[in-house]
């Protein structure tokens, strides 16, 4: 059964409370209509409901969440998937700043562009490897302090004179990998970042994620994967190891 909730004018606390209550009663599928800026949707739910959001969810969508599946038919605001542990967030539009801050697992797919500091402090642990895919371009400080996981930027809807990533890309990076569809000017990279071509195993990983992404977003996989990608990774797992006297 799909529970439809008209979120128009609902305070976020009441909306989230409603979702939690219905979920506890056994409802797994939700359709939230006319969402307009309500924060924290999907947070604090002990389980893996499927939530379809129509409208614009507010900041901290699915913050601290652990397995919720959210599809946003629209744009999202800041801090999508903040400190998320597991789950799938699909945004059929663009997203704001700090997408996936400190995210440890799960996936965030964004159809269009994303703001600053996307994937900051992205981590990974054992079988948990978080993935963020941005269909458009990303703002400054992409993958800052990145410690693990995968960020993919496709630049599908960018104009010829637009850059795929902003400045200071990967500053403080000490783990994980970014795949950028196209070239990244060296001056855009943080000093901790190395850029390279993709190895065979990189291509395997990339294709796996892209085919899923294209599937979800309804894109032509062959076309998306046909362009040459750049791989960005950390020079050093210990960027600050030599900072101290003794």
């Amino acid at each position: 059964m799909i529970k439809t909730i008209d979120a128009y004018g609902l305070y976020y606390k009441d909306l989230n409370n409603m979702i939690k209550k219905y979920y506890e009663k056994g409802i797994q599928e939700f359709r939230l209509k006319r969402v307009s800026g309500q924060r924290y949707i999907g947070s604090g739910i002990h389980g893996k409901p499927n939530i379809v959001i129509e409208g614009t969810p507010g900041n901290d969508l699915a913050a601290f969440s652990d397995g919720v599946n959210i599809t946003v038919k629209g744009n999202a605001q800041d801090a999508v998937g903040n400190t998320m542990n597991d789950g799938n967030l699909i945004i059929h539009g663009h997203a704001g700043d700090t997408v996936g801050y400190s995210m440890r697992g799960g996936k965030i797919y964004i159809k269009s562009y994303a703001g600053y500091r996307v994937g900051i402090h992205l981590k990974q642990y054992q079988d948990k490897i978080p993935v963020i895919i941005i269909g458009g371009r990303a703002g400054d400080f992409l993958g800052e302090y990145m410690a693990g996981g995968i960020i993919i930027v496709l630049g599908l809807d960018v104009a010829a004179d637009e850059e795929l990533v902003g400045s200071y890309c990967g500053t403080g990076m000490h783990g994980g990998v970014m795949y950028i569809r196209g070239n990244v000017a060296p001056y855009k990279l943080g000093k901790e970042v190395k850029s390279d071509t993709l190895s065979e195993s990189d291509m395997k990983v990339l294709k796996k994620h892209l085919s899923d992404y294209c599937n979800v977003m309804g894109l032509d996989f062959k076309k998306v994967v046909s362009k040459t990608f750049t791989k960005l990774y950390a020079y050093n797992k210990r960027p600050y190891g030599k900072l101290y006297a003794y």
């Binding site: 976020y12 606390k13 989230n16 939690k20 924060r39 924290y40 947070s43 604090g44 002990h46 900041n59 901290d60 913050a63 601290f64 969440s65 652990d66 800041d78 801090a79 903040n82 400190t83 542990n85 700090t98 801050y101 400190s102 440890r104 500091r117 900051i120 402090h121 981590k123 990974q124 642990y125 948990k128 800052e144 302090y145 410690a147 693990g148 403080g172 000490h174 783990g175 797992k237 210990r238 960027p239 600050y240 190891g241 030599k242 900072l243 101290y244 006297a245 003794y246």
Partner: protein, 501 residues
């Protein structure tokens, strides 16, 4: 390598009469200061390596060892003293940032020691806590502005979540990673036994400690290590760490060497990788953003747990605290500049931040002036050494205090300040299994419980002396304090009169 100009800081004196060359000290010292001298055919020491942790001194079965400050001195110069010269040598040799452990050791004024307490004489009888009831129980959290009851006398006002303390002393944030598993276990055990709380620091919570959830404050710091729904669920309260007194304004990092199997599990990062905490939370650039995180946590924990926000005591602490209260925090933790740490850049530890005594008074005044003091509790920390510091902190306006350095000292820390090396001989700030074993968690917990017990008796004695029978009545009661040798500005900030006035 070129010759180092550094001379030993300490001298290890071995009483040759007493030393029977058993070689135990060689095994004991993790800094490898003792060795068997082939030429001398006996155990000797390398003064340069000794950090004066006194582990060998305490453990030597023959009491043959003494460690002293090295008598070698530079020519007397009050400005260019020993430390300033040696620090330059160190940096000239390595080009690195100076690192240290524990708290600010410089000669700044200690206001605790410049304030004295009142006692009742004649007009208001003192109370004997051994015979009469004395209440130390403390509730931390937002208090409603007014209480409403129905006509049967039942409370109808909503009471926000509270932490309930049997003694107004908690253990401050220390992560598993900066401290050992056994030290962490001792704190958890003691907190449970004594009816107070311990704090995970930024290191996550090992599953072994889930049983202690009701006495656990879990921390959410900028690196978000080990933070997930399960972690937030296994807590009594959640603390957002913005800053800490030992290193306000900077992040931190746990070097990969300290990230062994267990630490890796707890922080949820791969073994051997550096755990880097950014200086700010990158989702908090304003009070409004702080509010967003506070409510993200409240949403995630169903509004059942108080949210603490911890900041370092800095220049504008009063205004910041007001913002934090308005952002919706239930408890503000203010950490003064004497606060300890496992590792901090020396210059920051010794030069950034303000004394906790002044910060408590300033924050309490500000929140009262704005009429929002009831909206938050204040926890003071950073160098609380004894029960009289506790009682003075509360008289200045704190609801409770946190101790961390004092707790480590109770477990055996000898203040060598070498925590950042990970070689703590006392098994406290180390992840080396051989060293961790040295700290018996049950024995350490017992020592912590003893300390809290002793302090609670002393606090009751002092309260009784003032004619007060509940700690609540002392809170912000600055009439109970007088200053000695303080300037007018200092007295004004502390909000107290001079002794004799």
């Amino acid at each position: 390598m070129s010759l180092s100009f550094l001379t030993p800081e300490f001298i290890v004196l071995r009483d040759r009469e007493r030393c029977n060359n058993c070689g135990l000290c060689i095994k004991l010292c993790s800094f490898q200061a003792h060795y068997y001298g082939e030429k001398q055919q006996r155990v000797v020491s390398d003064d340069k390596k000794c950090v004066n942790c006194q582990y060998c001194v305490v453990k030597c079965p023959k009491n043959a060892l003494i460690v002293k400050k090295h008598p070698l001195e530079f020519r007397q110069h009050d400005y260019w003293n020993d430390t300033s010269i040696k620090d330059i040598y160190k940096q000239a040799e390595t080009g690195g940032v100076l690192l240290t452990g524990m708290g600010n050791d410089k000669k700044f004024p200690i206001y605790w020691d410049k304030m004295v307490l009142n006692a009742s004489q004649v007009t208001n009888p003192s109370i004997d806590p051994l015979r009469e009831p004395m209440e130390l129980k403390t509730f931390l959290g937002k208090k409603p502005s007014r209480l409403e009851v129905d006509n049967k006398g039942n409370l109808i006002s909503h009471m926000p979540p509270q932490l309930e303390l049997e003694i107004p002393v908690m253990f401050g944030g220390m992560s598993f990673g900066s401290i050992s598993y056994n030290a962490f276990k001792a704190l958890a055990t003691a907190a449970k036994e004594a009816g107070t709380y311990f704090n995970t620091g930024e290191g996550g919570l090992h599953r072994d400690f889930y049983d202690f959830a009701d006495n656990t404050i879990v921390q959410v710091a900028s690196g978000r290590f080990g933070v997930n729904q399960e972690y937030l669920d296994h807590s009594a309260a959640v603390e957002i760490k913005i800053g800490q007194g030992a290193k306000p304004g900077i992040g931190g990092h746990l070097p990969g060497e300290k990230v062994g199997e267990e630490v890796s599990k707890t922080r949820m990062i791969p073994i051997g990788s550096d755990a880097i905490s950014p200086a700010p939370h990158h989702d908090i650039y304003s009070i409004e953003d702080l509010r967003q995180l506070i409510y993200a946590i409240k949403e995630t924990t169903d509004y059942k747990k108080p949210v603490l926000v911890k900041i370092a005591a800095v220049h504008n602490v009063a205004a910041i605290a007001s913002g934090i209260a308005r952002a919706g925090a239930d408890i503000i933790v203010i950490d003064g500049f004497r606060a300890g740490t496992g590792a901090a850049p020396t210059r920051i530890r010794d030069n950034v931040g303000i004394p906790i005594e002044l910060a408590i008074a300033a924050v309490d005044d500000r929140l009262k002036d704005e009429g929002i003091r009831n909206q938050v509790s204040i926890v003071a920390s950073g160098g609380i050494r004894n029960s009289s510091d506790v009682i003075k902190a509360i008289a200045l306006g704190a609801d409770a205090v946190s101790i961390a350095t004092a707790a480590l000292v109770a477990m055996g820390c000898h203040m060598c300040q070498k925590c950042y090396t990970g070689k703590c001989n006392w098994g406290i700030t180390t992840q080396n299994p051989e060293l961790v074993k040295r700290l018996d968690p049950d024995e350490a917990a017992r020592r912590l419980i003893n300390l809290l017990r002793a302090w609670s008796i002393e606090i009751k004695e002092m309260l009784g002396g003032m004619g007060i029978n509940a700690i609540e009545s002392l809170k912000g009661n600055r009439l109970m304090l007088r200053g000695i040798g303080l300037s007018e500005v200092e007295l004004k900030i502390l909000g107290i009169s001079h002794a004799g006035e």
